[in-house]
């Protein structure tokens, strides 16, 4: 063992891993988690490697989600693919369509003789990644849901309660600004939060064919009055800085952690960053309800990424991978991972373990995401979305919404344009896979 270690260390130095590979089977895992989460991934891999001596999990950070996915696809086309790759939820349709490239996780586990119980997983988490027949295609790993983050100190100072409806949000934003804050509300991942989840939360479809689950011949339909009204009101909130647009993805995070904005709608997975950066009392609560559209929320949908096994390696290597999957979804690992990061635990057992450990009681609000996800049994509108070319569609939505925030077009125009351009991309995708 010490010999292998020395060998590993010295060979790593010169960039030659071949010597060590002879002793143990290497399993390559490409992921998109930088920063502290990347460190946590390393820790999991190291723990698994120490637990057994047949396999070595080699995690590699490949850049952000899109870079990781493209790198894996390029590698597959060249026959150099990793065993496991982390793909974000919007890449699901692209991966699914590539039947010859992916090795459905459930099938892989069965082939490797590794026990797998689909019922152990939270329905709202796995339903996004199942075939119509209920077979699990990829292993949920880091799943999150958008929540409303709020600056508890600022809300208290302004003398307002935590908002539960959009009317509340507007009132709270006004109170915060009146009380001297630079801005009331900021959002991130705008397509995910304000269109995909807004639709699911109010049980409205985003596209035809059960949001794409029932077939590739789907079309977008989210240019409804309901969505347009909400977005228009949000755009109008920019007057007086009740709402400030701070960029795509999580670019607006510092606006919240610096105390500029009192509310921030984005992934629950920013929990780790909040703990590290926010110097005030913060909390998370459920997404606000638009009372014009529904009396009660349906359920939110997940974001984040799953792990896809790629074909083209030896059976023995998949046995190791299957064992690693079991390790990753074990209650201890999932509870630790979810509590550190703010991602939701993917199995019921892990959630219950967290409850037993008293984590959710000690840190109120940390189970917001999981409660949102399991609020009701998912309907076809709230199970998730499965649209081809969705990476580009999200860009289109980003572009059109940015033009809305900049005042160049109305919300209805933005949505109409996004739907029209999005449908073209869907048609191209449909042709490319048929």
């Amino acid at each position: 063992m010490t010999f292998t270690k020395t060998l590993l260390a010295s060979s790593a130095l010169v960039g030659l891993m071949a010597g060590a590979a002879a002793a143990q089977t290497e399993i390559h895992w490409w992921h998109a988690m930088g920063g502290a989460n990347g460190e946590r991934i390393d820790r999991m891999a190291a723990e698994f490697n120490a637990m057994q001596s047949d396999y070595v999990i080699v995690p590699t950070y490949k850049g952000n989600y899109t870079e990781t996915m493209t790198a894996a696809i390029a590698a597959f086309r060249a026959g150099e693919q990793p065993h496991l790759v982390q793909v974000f939820e919007v890449g699901t349709a692209t991966m699914m369509a590539a039947e010859g490239a992916i090795y459905p996780v459930e099938e892989m586990m069965a082939d490797a003789g590794e026990p797998f119980d689909g019922d152990a997983y939270l329905p709202a988490v796995v339903s996004y990644y199942q075939t119509p027949e209920g077979e699990l295609l990829s292993m949920p790993f880091n799943s999150s849901s958008p929540v409303m983050w709020y600056n508890a100190d600022a809300l208290a100072a302004a003398g307002v309660d935590v908002p539960t409806t959009w009317d509340d949000v507007e009132a709270v934003a006004q109170a915060l600004v009146d009380n001297g804050m630079a801005c009331g509300l900021a959002i991130g991942w705008q397509s995910w939060v304000m269109i995909e989840n807004f639709s699911a939360w109010h049980d409205m479809p985003m596209g035809t064919q059960e949001n794409g689950f029932a077939g590739f011949d789907t079309e977008f339909t989210f240019n409804t009055e309901a969505v347009a009204n909400r977005l228009q009101r949000l755009a109008d909130m920019q007057e007086g800085n009740l709402f400030v647009y701070g960029g795509r993805r999580g670019d607006s995070l510092p606006m919240f952690t610096n105390g500029e904005c009192g509310m921030w709608m984005n992934s629950s997975a920013y929990y780790g960053s909040m703990v590290a950066q926010a110097e005030f009392e913060f909390g998370q609560t459920m997404l606000p309800l638009d009372t014009d559209l529904a009396d009660a929320p349906q359920n939110s949908i997940i974001g984040g990424a799953t792990l896809w096994a790629l074909r083209g390696h030896d059976a023995a290597e998949y046995e190791g991978l299957a064992q690693f999957m079991t390790y990753l979804s074990s209650p201890e690992v999932q509870a630790w991972w979810s509590q550190e990061t703010g991602y939701v635990p993917i199995t019921t057992a892990a959630y219950e373990l967290g409850q037993e450990q008293g984590f959710y009681a000690e840190n109120p609000g940390t189970d917001t995401a999981i409660q949102q996800l399991s609020l009701n049994a998912p309907t076809p509108n709230s199970r998730g979305i499965r649209f081809g070319n969705f990476v580009q569609v999200r860009d289109v939505i980003n572009e059109e919404l940015e033009a809305l925030w900049a005042g160049d077009q109305t919300a209805q125009e933005a949505l109409d344009n996004a739907v029209e351009r999005g449908n073209e991309l869907l048609r191209r995708f449909e042709r490319s896979v048929n």
Binding site: G15, G34, G35, G38, Y61, A78, E80, P254, N258, G272
Partner: protein, 283 residues
């Protein structure tokens, strides 16, 4: 000086110093950023004067793993990768370009112009627009994760060939005539006459190509899957990505500083040759 106007001279110095200040400002801010604690760099206004954490950050960046959790190779290793890549590209390009320019200028042979245009067309097309097919070629040749894969495809540009051709055209024909009278063969002429006469241009090109190689971003990002092969410039972009969740600007700025120093050193150290070679041949 044409005429003596002290005021104008003072103005000249003021304008130039102002210009230097404007040009240097981003690097000053980088330096300041690299000398503070991570927390300080998240508070507005960010500092404009250096702090006392420079060497702490330097040690963490250079010998630690750099940014927490990117599980990248240590920064010194990335610097070494960048150095090898830049040198291989610079030297490789100069070598093959000298040879092909020599052939094109000093020999008359069938398809000479065909070769010239073939090389010349590659002059400006950046790697970015042909990257996926090129990636497949590299993968088919089994060159992923190797210094060869990192460098050889980038040697296939023609800037250097073109420049040497220009230089060789300025070498007087009498040189060749007298060499032939002395009975010198082509390679002898190449080593004894052509190479010494293009020394400045070789130096200038070395600087340009070293920087070109050092600054590559997209290509190494795609071609290296092994963290041990990552280059410093790629790691900066990845740190920016990770910064979305947990910005550690002090480490990012320190890495940026380390990534800048070698190419800047090359430019400044070889400044005289570089400027001569660049401006005198009319590039």
């Amino acid at each position: 000086m044409v005429e003596n106007r002290p005021l104008l001279s003072i103005l000249a110095h003021i304008v130039l110093l102002l210009g230097v200040a404007i040009v240097a400002l981003p690097v000053w801010i980088t330096f300041v950023g690299a000398s503070h604690e991570a927390e300080r760099m998240l508070q507005t206004p960010i500092p404009m004067l250096p702090g006392d954490q420079f060497f702490v950050n330097l040690r963490q960046t250079l010998w630690g793993s750099g940014l927490e959790g990117t599980n990248t190779a240590p920064v010194w290793m990335m610097l070494m990768n960048s150095m090898v890549m830049a040198l291989m590209i610079a030297i490789g390009k100069i070598a093959i370009s000298l040879l092909s320019a020599f052939a094109i200028v000093y020999f008359k042979f069938p398809f000479r112009m065909g070769f010239f245009w073939m090389i010349f067309i590659t002059l400006m097309l950046p790697v970015e627009v042909r990257i996926l097919p090129t990636f497949e070629v590299i993968a088919d040749l089994g060159m992923l994760n190797s210094y060869w894969g990192l460098t050889v495809p980038l040697i296939a540009s023609a800037t250097a060939t073109f420049m040497f051709r220009q230089v060789f055209l300025t070498i007087p024909d009498e040189m060749l005539e007298s060499a032939r009278i002395d009975g010198a063969g082509p390679m002898r002429f190449f080593w004894d006459i052509v190479i010494p006469l293009s020394r400045t241009n070789i130096a200038a090109l070395f600087v340009i190509l070293f920087i070109y190689g050092w600054n590559q971003y997209l290509w190494p990002l795609l071609i290296t899957t092994d963290t041990d092969m990552m280059t410093i410039v790629v790691s900066i972009k990845q740190m920016l990505e990770a910064a979305e969740q947990s910005p550690q600007w002090n480490i990012i700025m320190m890495t940026a500083l380390l990534a800048m120093i070698p190419p800047i050193f090359v430019v400044i150290a070889m400044q005289k040759l570089f400027v001569q070679g660049l401006t005198e041949t009319d590039k």
